[in-house]
Amino acid sequence: MPVRRCVLRCRIGRIVTGLFLLLPGLQAGEGPFFITYTHQMEEPGNLEVATKSVTGSPQGGNSFLGAATEFEYGVKGWWTTELYVDGQATSGDSALFTGYRWENRFRVLPREHWINPVLYVEFENINGADKSLLEVVGHDGLEDLLGSNSEARQEKEREIEAKLIFSSYVKGWTIAENFIAEKNIRHEPFEFGYAVGVSRPLALAARPERCSFCRENFQLGVEVYGGLGTHADFGLTDTSHYLAPTLGWTLANGTAFRVSPGFGLTDTSARFLLRFGVSYEIAQFGRATRQLFGSRGGRP
């Protein structure tokens, strides 16, 4: 039995390794943002695998690491779908899986305009211990990071989240604004939030040679995001807000790294959050996977 299990595991390992080595990598093009979405969609048939992690030491609580693994697939030119799998580890407490999210983005206008709207709809099934902090809405804040995992995980958060995304590309600058509305399916009022981001590559033209350290491969930006209360008390009172410079770096093989220190702007915000992530885009994933399995099946 152990031998059989090893054979199966080895075969799966070879296939996964083969996929990552044989399939062409593309530059992941979402820019350096962690929270703000632009109107750029995933190319049809491509799969982007990415991690978005955040770490912090909230005042009065334990240090934590929240992590989300993202699988983003381009279904159509106008439709991108993503699955997130979330987990977290808190020092002096525990590490746990906190749930999943499934999001879909739809481009509204078929052509490029000064401002380009995108509709975003997400279903999330996470628990209260989730610390991936992929958005800040309502009165989310420091208190959410202080409870013990065993208590927090009892709270179920089955929510529908909608975003209205506007973004523009102007002379090399990416400017994006997101308006967020979130509703727990069972109870609680609508919660609102926002995210705004601006970024620019260090060089607009590409160099002729393949390179990892060219200025064109670096993007600098800044994000501001926070909560806007609920429909009962819409506004800035008791809400948390963050200012986060961001840096993105793409290697010649398409692997992209991002890092973003975030600074809390209000008393209810965590003082400091450090976000970091890596992404790799696999071109024409579906077709290449079929070919890979096809060629394996064709062997005598």
Binding site: G29, Q40, E209
Partner: protein
């Protein structure tokens, strides 16, 4: 009844040919007037080859030779198209036909790709990116 069938067939034919039509034909005429600021630059052509390999060749094949996913680009319709028209296609794509928009690339990079595209000829040796 026969007239109705004929009209339906013509409509189906027109709509299927419209679906197969290249996005180049959808570019507005004023787009063609836009000049490529990098026209004739070998540096731009090489940079364009690098960008093409990264952004386009997964669908259009290496050197624009085509693939099952998207048509070949090493044909006269593309190399003879006005640079401004190609630039328009790169910016807007054709979202409902599977061609994504490349507006996220800065303008100079899109012009570099246009410079490379216009150098493609069927069977010709093309400039490839420097290693």
């Amino acid at each position: 009844m026969r007239k109705l069938l004929l009209a339906a067939s013509v409509l189906a034919l027109v709509s299927s040919s419209a679906r197969a039509e290249s996005p180049i034909h959808h570019a507005p005429t004023q787009a063609a007037a836009l000049a490529n600021p990098l026209e004739g630059s070998e540096q731009a052509q090489r940079a364009g080859a690098k960008l093409f390999a990264r952004e386009c060749s997964a669908c259009h094949g290496p050197g624009g030779a085509g693939s099952g996913k998207a048509p070949a680009l090493n044909r006269a319709e593309v190399s003879n198209a006005p640079p401004g028209t190609l630039f328009w296609v790169l910016r807007n794509g054709s979202l409902f036909r599977g061609m994504p928009s490349f507006a996220h690339l800065p303008e100079p990079q899109r012009w570099q790709i246009v410079t490379y595209l216009r150098s493609l000829r069927p069977g010709a040796t093309t400039i490839e990116p420097r290693p």
